[in-house]
Amino acid sequence: MKPARNLRIVILAMGALLMVTPFLYMVSTSLKAQQYVLKLPPQFIPDPATLGNYERILLRGDFGQFFLNSLIVAVSATTISVLLSAMMAYGFARYRFPAREWLFRLLLLGLMIPAIMLIVPQFLLAKYFGLIDSLVGLVVFYVAGSLALNTFLLRGFFEAIPFELDEAMRIDGAGDWTRFWRLALPLARPALATATIFTFLATWDEFAWALTIITSPEKQTLPIAIALLQGPKGTQWGLVFAASILAIMPVIFVFLAFQRHFVQGLTSGAVKG
């Protein structure tokens, strides 16, 4: 038994090393000056180490703007999406009305269509509404893209809340909105957390749509800004990775802090990270 267990740990550790080495190497490179980034043999421990790349990124000023853009977009899109989805999910879970199943199936159809397939007509739509090159344009379509999944996730949760609780509140004179706000939402907190986290990550990382509609430099979000850091000739890798690390920090923090909800969200069988 013992050797088998040790072998297992060794295999797992080797795999984990493969997963982590690129990250460590990225951190190491972000601490190197340009002349050392493609030096052979490569340096794992930067010598001399420098914080110059971080300094340059932070002093550029526009990086703060990109960070702020990403934050504004991700937070507003997540808030709006989770609220609208929760309302829809509640409507589907708690009421009977004509064409309910039919409408829900239409929503599931939206779940199956990958976002980027719709990028051309959505671009025309955004143009029609004057949303090109605006953060609002990002928010609106990020919300649109996450509605189906979040509604699907939350409906199952609302359905599991016993009807008797609703009845009791109704007899006490609580209206529909109060029952939703005071009863259903607090009870669905774990599912809401899952939906919030996944929506936040997806919007924080989104690339294709932002690349398509954002043209002014001051409206770029982090993924676009970082992708554009690589020059046509000779990329400043240290700079790129310093920016990358600053950009993924919030994501890794959210992931580590809310791990439990990640597992829950994944096992509810609906979310592809």
Binding site: L40, P41, P121, L266
Partner: protein
């Protein structure tokens, strides 16, 4: 139950019945209206645009050309190249992600002090943005990058002079390597959850019957996690066709369009050449392909699962 509801419903006067629809309407309408306008309408419009020689310039008239854009795709060598690259990507990323993900999950399934740590480490690439990891892999696979150094000086497998991103095949290897590396944690997590549902008593019974580890895996574990397996494979195949950011960032479809995949090709047609009609036709073809593949897999997977479960 249903009958009783219907009965009740016909008993209440029509005005009250309509009022009972008011609450769900208010809950659903805001989200659903947005969904209809921004997702369902574009879905229909994508098909419509694909039938036109679409003019983006204001004032220019788009002409209806029927299925010409589709015919063009079938005669377009670069479309076939992109399609085959997408297919190759799927072929070389889906099986490794399934096998490695399941393998790691099997090794990790028993609770141990190290389990949470390993879980986090394997999942880390999944939560990291595509743009960042694509840049990272571009750097690792650079001519003077870490991969060449490792293959030459550490493992002595090659002369360390492979110019990974400047040839079709080697670039695809790099792009696929990224796909697998980023995705293993996801399938591991799904399998890990599914493995918690493997019935303990069945496993013990198999041990008593003297079944080998491999037999136990085939007879007890695999059937129990089959639904998760179906889910993982279908999601990965869809994800494989959706590869976009990594190709865009690592090679930009180059050299000379050699590593273009369907979505990058579609994107280029639409937003570089402003040929929205042709771009939409490619998007529609891709959507149909994804649907057909998913349906085929469901059919293919269902039979053995039903057989084994009994």
């Amino acid at each position: 139950m249903h009958d009783r509801i219907r009965h009740l419903r016909s008993a209440v006067p029509p005005r009250t019945r309509w009022r009972s629809y008011l609450a769900p309407a208010l809950f659903i309408t805001p989200g659903f209206a947005l969904f209809l306008v921004t997702v369902i309408y574009p879905m229909v419009q994508a098909f419509q645009i694909s039938l036109y020689d679409w003019q983006i310039v204001a004032g220019a008239v788009s002409t209806f050309i029927g299925f010409d854009n589709y015919a063009r795709a079938f005669n377009d060598e670069r479309f076939w190249l992109a399609l085959s690259n997408s297919g190759l990507y799927m072929l070389f990323t889906v099986p490794p992600q399934v096998v490695l993900g399941l393998g790691v999950a099997m090794l990790l399934k028993d609770k141990s002090p190290a389990q949470p740590l390993f879980r986090v480490l394997y999942y880390l690439p999944v939560v990291t943005s595509w743009v960042v990891v694509s840049l990272l892999f571009r750097y690792l696979f650079a001519d003077r990058g870490l991969i060449n150094f490792a293959l030459d000086d550490l493992l002595q497998l090659t002369d360390g002079k492979i110019s990974w991103l400047s040839g079709r095949w080697t670039a695809l290897v790099a792009i696929c390597a990224l796909g697998v590396w980023k995705g293993v944690g996801w399938s591991m997590m799904i399998f890990l959850a599914a493995l918690q549902g493997v019935p303990r008593d069945l496993e013990e019974a198999a041990i008593i019957d003297g079944a080998s580890r491999w037999q136990r895996f085939l007879v007890v574990t695999l059937p129990a996690i089959w639904p998760a397996m179906i889910f993982v494979v279908i999601m990965l195949v869809i994800g494989g066709f959706n590869v976009f950011a990594s190709v865009m960032v690592m090679t930009g479809g180059g050299p000379a369009g050699q590593t273009e995949v369907l979505l990058t090709y579609m994107y280029r047609q639409a937003f570089e050449y402003l040929d929205f009609g042709y771009g939409s036709a490619i998007a529609v073809i891709l959507t149909v392909l994804v649907f057909l593949l998913s349906a085929a897999q469901l059919r293919l997977f269902r039979d053995p699962a039903a057989g084994d479960a009994r």
